[in-house]
Amino acid sequence: MTAVYPPDHHLLRDLRFSFEHDADGRRSRAWMPVVRELCTDLGHARAGVLATLVDVIGGGLAASAAAPGWIATADLTLHLVGAARPGSVVEARAEVLRAGRTTVVLEVALVDEHERNVGIATMSFAVLPRREANPEVDRVRDSPSTMATARSRLDRPLLEELDVQVRDPARGVIEVPVTDWSRNSMGSMQGGVVATVAEVAAETALRAATNEQLVVTDLQVTYLGFGRVGPVRTTAEALGTGDGHGSARVELVDAGAESRQMTVVHAVATRVLT
């Protein structure tokens, strides 16, 4: 998050998040308007999009909690129980559960504008020594209440914007380029986008395995390395399937960087949420 991050045309602007941070640095809230371009073919917000909301609000809060140190995201988990449909607004309420010498742990509750449960998320972060390139925490905390500009919006579905290419549905092989639109402040694929890529891989593989229109409701994302070069390539293995649900293990590599391992994800898909 340098002075030029995010650029004018960027995911974090086009998702039109807005934020509010408590002065004590222990709680934050964020809101995301749900539009059709962010939804699955069954008409509710993608798990990966909600993971992006969690990642953004959680990263800012963890940076405050770890100050004067800096942070690296270790893992993100998301479990959905309710459908967030176009026209609704999802609110993320993040709270610091632990701020220790080596780790920060957060819980994030997701609700809609009627206080209905949409889901719950957790994140944990490794605390690192601060480097010159890391943004100041005060800047994070005092950031504007939104990164969106008057022109920020999605003009086409998210997966088209990310240029997701499905190569082998049964094995969950998809490829996604790393573009300026989806990079984080370190120049790598943004963590929520990584979750979205894994979501699509799991959904593709589990639909192929079950012949059912399952949607991903749970993500357990373990971040191992950055995706800087691209394309990011996935493989997915169905672990088990049952009546109306299935689970998969997804691995992501940076194919342009000697297939360096980036992320391991366990995903669960169920029938449509209500």
Binding site: N117, G119, T122, T222, V264, H266, T270
Partner: protein, 266 residues
């Protein structure tokens, strides 16, 4: 961290679980455990709490070896998915290193049923923080071999009886922090915390089976009683989604948080 020097201290949980493990190549450990009667739950298969304890056990040693010589590890979070509910055994617990960072270690752990043609039972990821014990990290001969000890007695108590679980209303269970439930550092064993979460979910759902767990260890349990309280978040086609909060009541603090999916038993 200051370890208890008594030779028996901290090893009761490992003996009860009966997991033997061997380092088959550098930082790749394989453990074995029998499907003993005392580890089975009411649905007949090995309890999810027992499977989580095995994951924590073998994954934790793998992480600890990766942390040497700088330190040893404590579990910080465990995420696992159980995909098979009936088991023949023996179970093979396969753990390998995914990442060794400056202050944490990530290991991948899979449990397979050798009695069912290596069918996958559970798949998970364990993250551990690297710490420096007061008396230095443990010394091991490599490649590491840890025996399970003598065959478990046939009349070992079931996990709820062994832990001394008592019900607290419709949505919580608790245990006392008995000496045999502590790890070598004198705090409640991580596998016991995972089992308590599993038992609380089972109690709150009237006998459901835990199929998916994300468990964050936030602080040590030192005093007790330790209580796990359940709040239901919603229902889906794969079961009920629960938030389980673990507190050390004697220390008046939250010590772990779990998000659990609990499927109907049938």
């Amino acid at each position: 961290m200051n370890s208890d020097e008594r030779p028996e201290a901290g090893h009761h949980v490992g003996r009860y679980m009966g997991v033997a493990m061997r380092e088959v190549e550098e930082l790749h450990l394989v453990g074995h455990a029998s499907v003993a009667p005392h580890l089975r739950g009411p649905a007949g298969g090995v309890r999810t709490g027992a499977l989580l304890t095995m994951l924590d056990n073998v994954g934790g040693v793998t992480g600890g070896l990766a942390a040497l010589p700088d330190g040893w590890v404590v579990s910080t979070n465990l995420a696992a998915r159980v995909v098979a509910r009936s088991h023949v055994g023996p179970l093979r617990i396969d753990s390998c290193l995914l990442r060794r960072g400056r202050n944490n270690v990530v290991t991948s752990v899979q449990v397979r049923d050798e009695g069912l043609r290596d069918a996958l039972v559970a798949s998970g990821v364990l993250t551990s923080a690297i710490l420096v014990p007061e008396n230095g990290p443990p010394q091991w001969t490599r490649p590491l071999v840890l025996e399970a000890g003598p065959e478990p007695a046939p009349d070992l108590p079931s996990m709820p009886d062994w832990l001394g679980v008592r019900v607290v209303g419709d949505h919580a269970v608790e245990i006392e922090l008995a000496a045999e439930l502590r790890n070598p550092w004198g705090i409640l064993h991580g596998g016991v915390v995972a089992t308590l979460v599993d038992l609380a979910a089972e109690h709150a759902t009237g006998g459901g089976i835990t199929t998916d767990v994300v468990l964050h260890f936030l602080a040590p349990n030192r005093v007790g009683p330790v209580r796990a309280s359940v709040r239901e978040l919603g229902r889906r086609t794969d079961g009920r989604l629960l938030r389980v909060e673990v507190r050390d009541e004697g220390a008046a603090r939250m010590t772990a948080l779990a998000i659990v999916t609990c499927a109907p038993r049938a």
